[in-house]
């Protein structure tokens, strides 16, 4: 007995979450996930309050409750808060909390990255909130169409708040995406092959890939627009060879996948709940997985349906119209898989199922109006009217909020170990459901009656008065419903009755642990045999990683496909670095906001230093090279070449690649479409210099490859020499790039030159990061942290060089060779 107690005390010590100020150092995914969700909840309330202001203003015609300026700020912030500060962070928080528990891991693969992402989200959100308090909130609509959001038509600091604040928040989204992606692929427990993963995990896997690819276009767009506003660079200004439609493309290239990024995790909740309450496994597991993958894929090919009225060619319209409707197929497959599951099971009804039912009604209708909107002639009529407002609330509230509440009620016993109040929960549901439909069903007709969206007032007598009043009343009814649910959630932790173990008889792994779960999730990591581990009597027959006396936080590293254990991953523990680095970036964001550029430059350098220091401390600071004793015949991750860090780097490079592709898209788009785009007589760039950069980067990548080949044979002798050479090459390449940047570029006069500048700066940034990483690695080799016995960091830095080499050659092709061969210079 006492031995068990010691074991438990050891575990608690290793996975300890400090309190007080040191709570800022916590990295545990459960804590970070809950912080995401609670912060998201606060922002939801802010967004809801803003919505109520909108409904108050529109309740009656010609109301002067708010001025147009304030109203514009309110609806812009309502959209911004709900999309960027509530919907995605909330779902990512849920995923961060649930995923390790569902796949049998003790934490996510990069716990500190999660904490860093949270603080970026929090600080970015606070910066945006500050703009509301100062009455300087963005006022150009949540998609910030330029030129309305440009420095000419929005001269104040309002748009800067949006561009900087939202970009900052997006860092959190992307880091969470990378973290979830790698965790799902690499940290599943023994035996959990891809085909045995719970459906929710599949949904999150697809979502995180979409986040990695989907957010960079908007990050690029925001950077370009901010550069245009603050630095006068020409990207979107027609007169200087830019095009405002480029912003719309970049925005919706992000914006449409974003809708599915929000919907898919919520649909994952539905796919989790329905089999549990139908008491049978899901019908068509493979079909659902395929549908989710297809949705993710198609969602990147239909952004133009937000732009049917900008006057694009008919063929393109037909293409995007068909693509938009096509997404109905995977959605219908999921809906009918759920129906069939209910049909084939012995369903029981409970509070979460009430919300699932609400989801079904609302979402099916929203999906159908979505198909209508995909039809181009109808779109021309109702685009930018209240019909669209109604449609998107049907798909977002129906597709995200209802499933979210269902999921929260479902997992509540796991979060707190207590049950919700069915009575309050039922009231809350019906008020929300009735209020929601009153508000938004009627709003379809308001739009058809001709009311555009985003008008701060309207005149009486157009038939809009009564529908608007109904919508406003409905909005307040829904508010009461939300309050009811919140009261239930807040009070149940105290008054709710204690939950039995696995109260819903669910089959996924998270229900096999204690509720509320310990910070290390599982005492012993089990071997999973099928998709129903918590119904599996043999679950505990084979277990992993029982020992924590070594004081390390560890989880299993698995083969990405078969789920078989391959290594033991040593996870980093609590740390100040994430908080400190996020704080530095927040300071950078604020200094850019107040346009204190010398200060910003200083803080930017400081941030690079802090991030490097973090990466330094994160690595192993003592040479480790021991093999684990029995009964864990697994190597530690740092003794091999295939570490989670390599996967994380690759995912980050995918995100960067998406940013780069958006940049290339911008270049070719402006070239072919911008009305006043101009090529100068000759290319402003010295091609021999760029060719030199390409060759140097290739040489560096080649050297890394050779040293890696040697390392694999256990020969680390050449490591210091090679790294010295690569670092030197890197420095020369950076110097060459800086020389290249001294070309006579008219960046404020011609979009052509401004785009070239941004691309070269991007290349310089990557070359710089790769060089810096090489230098740091050199030092670690000298100290013995990296060696033939602990080589895992070498392939990581090699990836940086391979990527830099790739973009350098592409830039040579795209900026010089291709235009030359086209004869435009």
């Amino acid at each position: 007995m006492s031995e068990q107690q010691t074991t438990r005390a050891t575990r608690a010590a290793v996975w300890h979450n400090p309190t007080g100020w040191r709570a800022l150092t916590v990295v545990s995914h459960s804590v970070i996930g809950k912080r995401f969700m609670l912060t998201g909840l606060v922002f939801f309330l802010v967004g809801g309050l803003l919505a109520m202001l909108i409904r108050a203003q529109l309740a009656f015609p010609d109301q002067a409750f708010m001025s147009s300026d304030i109203y514009n700020q309110v609806f812009t912030m309502h959209g911004t808060v709900m999309m960027f500060l509530f919907a995605l962070p909330m779902l990512e928080g849920l995923a961060m909390y649930m995923i390790p528990k569902m796949i049998g891991a003790r934490d996510l693969a990069f716990p500190r990255l999660g904490a860093f992402g949270y603080f970026c989200y929090l600080f970015g959100g606070l910066i945006l909130m500050a703009s509301i308090v100062l009455a300087l909130a963005p006022a150009s609509g949540w998609f910030m169409y330029t030129p309305l959001s440009s420095d000419v038509f929005s001269p104040g600091v309002n748009s800067d708040f949006w561009l900087l604040g939202v970009t900052f928040v997006e860092i959190a989204a992307v880091t969470a995406g990378i973290e979830l992606l790698v965790s799902i692929l690499r940290t599943r427990t023994a035996g959990m092959s891809l085909s045995k993963m719970p459906l929710f995990v599949w949904y999150i896997l697809v979502t995180s890939v979409m986040v990695v690819f989907g957010f960079p276009p908007l990050i690029l767009g925001s950077i370009l627009l901010e550069l245009e506003r603050a630095g006068g660079l020409a990207f979107f200004d027609v007169a200087r060879g830019g095009d405002p439609l480029l912003w719309q493309h970049l925005f919706w290239l992000f914006g449409h996948p974003e809708v599915y990024i929000i919907f898919l995790p919520a649909a994952g909740v539905i796919s989790t709940l329905i089999p549990v309450f139908a008491r049978r496994p899901i019908v068509g597991y493979r079909a659902v997985v395929l549908a989710v993958l297809t949705t993710g894929f198609i969602s990147f090919g239909l952004w133009v349906h937000h732009m049917f009225t900008v006057g694009i060619p008919q063929l393109a319209q037909a293409f995007f119209s068909v693509a938009s409707m096509l997404v109905a197929v995977p959605t219908a497959i999921q809906i009918f898989a759920w129906l069939a599951t209910l049909w084939g099971g012995r369903p029981v009804f409970s509070l979460p199922m009430l919300w699932v039912f609400g989801f079904l009604v609302v979402f099916v209708f929203g999906g159908l109006t979505g198909v209508m909107l995909a039809l181009v002639p109808f779109n021309w009529q109702v685009h930018d009217t209240h019909f669209v407002v109604a449609h998107m609330h049907y798909v977002l509230i129906g597709g995200m909020l209802f499933p979210l509440v269902a999921g929260i009620y479902y997992w509540l016993p796991l979060f707190t170990g207590r049950m919700p109040s069915m009575q309050l929960g039922r009231w809350g549901f019906w008020l929300c459901f009735i209020g929601f439909n009153l508000t938004f069903l009627v709003m379809h007709f308001t739009g058809l009656l001709g009311m555009p969206r985003r008008v701060y007032t309207y005149e009486a007598g157009l038939g809009w008065d009564i529908p608007n009043l109904i919508s406003s009343v409905g909005g307040f009814v829904m508010c009461a419903g939300v309050a009811m649910v919140l009261i239930d959630l807040l009070t149940h932790a105290r008054f709710g009755r204690k939950a039995k173990a696995n109260p819903w008889h669910a089959d996924t792994l998270e229900w096999s642990m204690a509720a509320p779960p310990p910070t290390w999730n599982f005492d012993l990591l089990p071997r999973v045999h099928d998709r129903h581990p918590s119904h599996d009597a043999q679950l505990q027959e084979e277990t992993w990683l029982p020992d924590m006396h070594h004081g390390r936080r560890e989880t299993l590293g698995c083969d990405p496909v078969s789920g078989e254990p391959r290594q033991v991953i040593h996870l980093p523990a609590n740390s100040w670095w994430p908080f400190v680095c996020a704080l530095a970036l927040a300071a950078l964001c604020v200094s850019l906001l107040v346009r204190a550029y010398p200060l910003a430059a200083f803080i930017a350098l400081l941030s690079v230093g802090l991030l490097s220091a973090w990466s330094w401390h994160n690595g192993l600071r003592k040479p480790h090279a021991r093999a684990l004793p029995a009964p864990d015949p697994l190597p530690m991750h740092f003794t091999g070449f295939d570490s989670p860090g390599l996967w994380g780097t690759n995912a980050a490079l995918l995100a960067s690649g998406s940013l780069f592709m958006s940049m290339l898209f911008g270049w070719f788009y402006l070239w072919t479409v911008a009305p006043l785009w101009q090529f100068p007589e000759t290319s402003p760039l010295a091609w021999p210099l760029l060719l030199t950069v390409c060759l140097l980067c290739s040489l560096a990548a080649l050297l890394y490859r050779r040293t890696l080949v040697r390392l694999r044979t256990g020969d680390g002798a050449a490591l210091p020499r090679t790294l010295w050479a690569v670092a030197g090459i890197g420095l020369v390449a950076c110097a060459a790039l800086i020389a290249l940047l001294r070309a006579p570029l008219d960046i404020t006069g011609q979009a052509h030159d401004a785009v070239i500048l941004v691309m070269l700066l991007y290349l310089l940034m990557h070359a710089g990061v790769a060089t810096l990483a090489t230098l740091l690695q050199l030092r670690r080799v000298a100290l013995g942290y990296v060696s033939a016995a602990a080589p895992f960091e070498v392939p990581i830095v090699r990836q940086l060089w391979r990527y830099t080499q790739l973009i350098a050659w592409i830039l040579l092709l795209v900026l010089i060779a291709f235009p030359q061969s086209w004869g435009v210079y």
Binding site: S68, V310, Q314, G344, V364, Q381, H383, R454, T457, P467
Partner: protein, 348 residues
């Protein structure tokens, strides 16, 4: 109290019934459900069909769901196995059959058939709305969006006016849409869909009114502070009436400034002429005032142009339409403004 609040209140469920009343209302309607031209007619018809089909699908899916959830359990359930084992009774073969029936029927066939039907109607319909070449070239009207008003130019007739567009009924009109500042969208719901006005581009929208009438339009793309008060009207006239209207406007265009020596002319020169033109004086930024007397609304649909409307507009426009780009005239006393209004009225 709003100057235009004098029309009947219309409820959601009575809009169809009150269509006639609204059509006869003097400012016209803005409802896409009261189509008055071929494009809008097609779209409205499309809507009612889509609504009907969607309603059937929603009721079917929800009905199936409710039945599946609440149907009486089959008799075998009397010795219902423990929930943990319940799911295991289903063999892979049974699963495959169920999956095939539901997923292929509902997941593949239903949406595909719906889509094919929809596109079979929708794509040709959209094609018909495009400004394709016609044997007889349609009337060309160039509309330029400004923050927050509409510049209307008839290049063939040599007329430039603002916010109120006159067209002949019964034949197609091509609107060439451009923008002077930010993105706007030109939309007359009773006649057809909308099209954006984008800086640096010209988009062409073809509309037609089947019969004479007055139709409201409004900017549909958010364009800043007074997006809500960027309204306009389209008045479709019988062929002869349209010809008369054109002739009258051409006379306006050719007319010299009257009372050029009056003190008000100097007031106009000092305070208005930089942006507004009378009789072709060079000015940019504001609406041309040569045809002001023929316009029934002021401030892009903010205020009725009758009685003391113009005077009120000049005095209170920053209150009536806050943020509009015309500077306030607080420093001009009432007498000066009255004289200016009289002088402007004499310019017809």
């Amino acid at each position: 109290m709003h100057p235009l609040r004098d029309k009947p209140r219309v409820g959601l469920f009575t809009f169809a019934v009150t269509a006639v009343a609204l059509l006869s209302g003097c400012e016209g309607s803005q409802s896409a459900l009261q189509p008055a031209g071929p494009a809008a007619q097609d779209i409205a018809l499309l809507w009612w069909w889509m609504l009907g089909t969607s309603a059937v699908i929603v009721f079917a899916v929800v009905g199936l769901w409710l039945y599946a959830q609440f149907r009486r359990p089959p008799p075998a359930s009397s010795e219902q196995p423990a929930p943990e084992q319940a799911g295991m009774r289903h063999t892979a073969a049974v699963d495959r059959i169920i999956a095939r029936r539901w997923l292929i029927g509902g997941g593949l066939i239903l949406p595909t058939v719906t889509m094919v039907v929809l596109l079979a109607f929708g794509i040709p319909m959209g094609h018909r709305m495009l400004p394709l070449p016609l044997p007889e070239a349609p009337l060309r009207i160039e509309v330029t969006g400004h923050q927050w008003w509409w510049e209307v130019h008839y290049p063939e007739q040599g007329i430039t006016t603002a916010n109120q567009i006159h067209i002949p009924a019964g034949r197609p009109v091509d609107f060439h849409l451009a923008s002077a500042d930010v993105i706007h969208a030109f939309w007359v719901p009773q006649l057809g869909g909308k099209l954006d006005m984008i800086p640096g581009r010209t988009n062409v929208l073809r509309l037609q009114a089947d019969a004479p009438g007055r139709f409201r339009g409004q900017c549909a793309e958010f364009c800043g502070l007074q997006h809500a008060r960027m309204r306009f009207t389209v008045e479709a006239l019988p062929e002869e009436a349209f010809a008369q209207w054109v002739a009258a406007r051409q006379a306006d265009e050719a007319r010299p400034v009257r009372d050029a020596g009056a003190p008000s002319a100097q007031v106009f020169e000092a305070h208005c002429s930089q942006c507004h033109s009378v009789a072709g004086t060079p000015a940019t930024g504001g609406p041309d005032l040569r045809h002001l007397h023929s316009r029934t609304l002021l401030g892009a649909g903010t205020l009725r142009h009758d009685g003391d409307g113009l005077q009120r507009w000049l005095r209170e426009h920053q209150h009536l339409k806050p943020g509009n780009h015309m500077p306030a005239h607080d420093h001009l006393d009432d007498d000066t403004l009255s004289a200016l209004v009289d002088w402007l009225r004499r310019q017809q």
